[in-house]
Symmetry: C2
Subunit: 330 residues, 2 copies
């Protein structure tokens, strides 16, 4: 009745922003991500009669309120499948800051889903796991797989065709690197869930985003399969900019960029002009993630570290599938 799972974070190269179904977390568009080997969440879940209610601890702190309630709803979905009424104790740790645009909810809900289903004795395949994980945090379904992953939006009302599949495993493109620079570790002001609902409701650019994203998906898949860095990088950077355009034109504006974000974007553009090929992507937060190839990674990392605003740099490659581990976080 106790199990621990580890899941890596993932960074979308073609982004997810906006739900067609808020409750089931069904997206308006498919998205493509790279699972990161360096940034992970480990979660132990135990179900027992000794627990009177669900409890959640993240990085050593006891969590209440909305976050506990979201995790509890996730356990409900799993308990229903397992026909269990036992309460659960959840203990989770990540090796990177949370709510700062490094996709902690993706790795968090992937690990939670895997650990909780295992603890209740369910044997689910990754498609089934994805459908559950998605309902906790959309992008969590992508963190179940390693390498390069597509979350297929699906078209069915019940969400049964909205889950992730792997485009290519991590060894397919070992030279592709992502330099993640943390310019501020403070938690973001507007959570993704609330932000994307506002964007869908009123951004004048949301329609244009949806109209152009299908083409981005085709090119990103091709870029990954053919290991065409220039194609993948350019698509990822433009797709990120388009998403942020829908955000900033939301009322009230959602501006995840901080001053340091803009200087880092310009640094990436400057490096590229100098012949050091790299591309940025930015999620719902201020951090800039730089896509590059191993041959240039040392130079690029050095340039990033020169920036006085940078507090931390993670160097990542495509990571592993989420999985069960023997570690116990209790």
């Amino acid at each position: 009745m106790k199990s621990t799972a580890i899941a890596n974070s993932n960074i979308a190269l073609v982004k997810y922003w906006g739900k067609r179904n808020e409750k089931l977390i069904l997206p308006f568009n498919s998205s493509i991500s790279m699972t990161l080997d360096g940034l992970y969440t480990a979660t132990t879940v135990e179900f027992s009669e000794k627990y009177k209610q669900d409890s959640l601890s993240i990085d050593g702190g006891h969590i209440f309120g909305e976050e506990l309630s979201k995790a509890s709803v996730q356990l409900d979905i799993i308990r229903k499948l397992a026909k269990s009424t036992l309460k659960g104790k959840m203990v989770s740790r990540s090796n990177f800051p949370k709510s700062a645009g490094l996709a902690s909810s993706a790795s968090g809900f992937a690990a939670l889903t895997l650990a909780a289903t295992k603890a209740l004795g369910l044997h689910l395949d990754r498609k089934e796991l994805g459908i559950i994980a998605r309902q906790g945090s959309g992008s969590a379904c992508r963190s179940l797989y390693g390498g390069f992953v597509e979350w297929q939006k699906g078209t069915l009302e019940d969400g049964s065709d909205s889950y992730a599949r792997q485009i290519a495993p991590k060894d397919h493109w070992g030279e592709l690197a992502m330099v993640v620079s943390v310019v501020t570790a403070k938690e973001k002001k507007v959570k993704s869930r609330a932000g994307m609902a506002q964007t869908v409701a009123n951004s004048p650019l949301y329609k244009a985003w949806l109209e152009t994203v299908e083409d981005d998906l085709v090119k990103a898949r091709k870029g990954i399969k053919e290991m065409n860095f220039t194609l993948l990088g350019a698509i990822a950077e433009m797709n990120c900019l388009k998403m942020h355009c829908t955000m900033v034109t939301t009322t009230p504006h959602i501006i995840y960029w901080e001053p340091q974000t803009v200087s880092m974007m310009k640094e990436v553009m400057a490096m590229r002009e100098e012949g050091l090929e790299c591309y940025f992507t930015i999620d719902g937060g201020p951090q800039v993630k730089i896509l590059c190839l191993d041959k240039d990674v040392k130079k690029i990392e050095a340039r990033v570290r020169e920036n006085k605003d940078v507090q931390k740099v993670y160097l990542c490659h495509a990571g592993d599938d989420a999985g069960i581990t023997k570690e116990d976080l209790f």
Copy 2:
């Protein structure tokens, strides 16, 4: 054969970005601006047989190359009308930095057109002047009028219906103020002319911009006529964000925002949340212009000056029509 004109700069509240005819400078959309009383350009033009070629001096420096050639082409249009072949000497001074997103080309070409037509003895009305000024720099036609001005895009191929008209004179809304903060006076990397052509050519969001701008125009006119600050401010801010979205999604990206631009935008949003009603607008450059009412202007100006990045602050209200002056800059 010698005349001096003064024209104020203007800041668009509904922006102009993109031409349907590059040569005649005919825009894809109409735009609405506020003429500023504090920022002006004065230009003296003399035509004489003693000059062997056109010459241009700006702020004390002799200008050659592309800038001289643009001014010379402008004189050609006027010489053709006046049936003159005389060469001209142009001397121009502005009281604000040029090419930094404070619309120096608008006030510059408005003053040049007015001075040069007068020097050659032409008596043109402001519609005719506007058609000429527009061919030097599109937004220059708006600087011919004081107060609040609309540059009507027109539909004719020859541009004869693309000129400015006044929506309201400067005394109509004396309480409306604009606090212009200069965060860097360095010249911008991408000139508007080249930038907008690239945007029209390849931004995936340009179509969405054009589709939504007509509604902005209707609301901005209404906001000005009814002195509805909340309506005008919200439209101006959103319109500016939409324009910058078309810029940043251009390939290569046109990012006029600097880190200081983002902090100033957030400062405006923070003041508004605190009940100090104000809105930002940003042109092709890093400077943030803050729209507010006189009752709050002292508090807002003080907040802006607290920002360590701010080098200079101009406090402006709606300004006068462009006009002839007796001053001689030679």
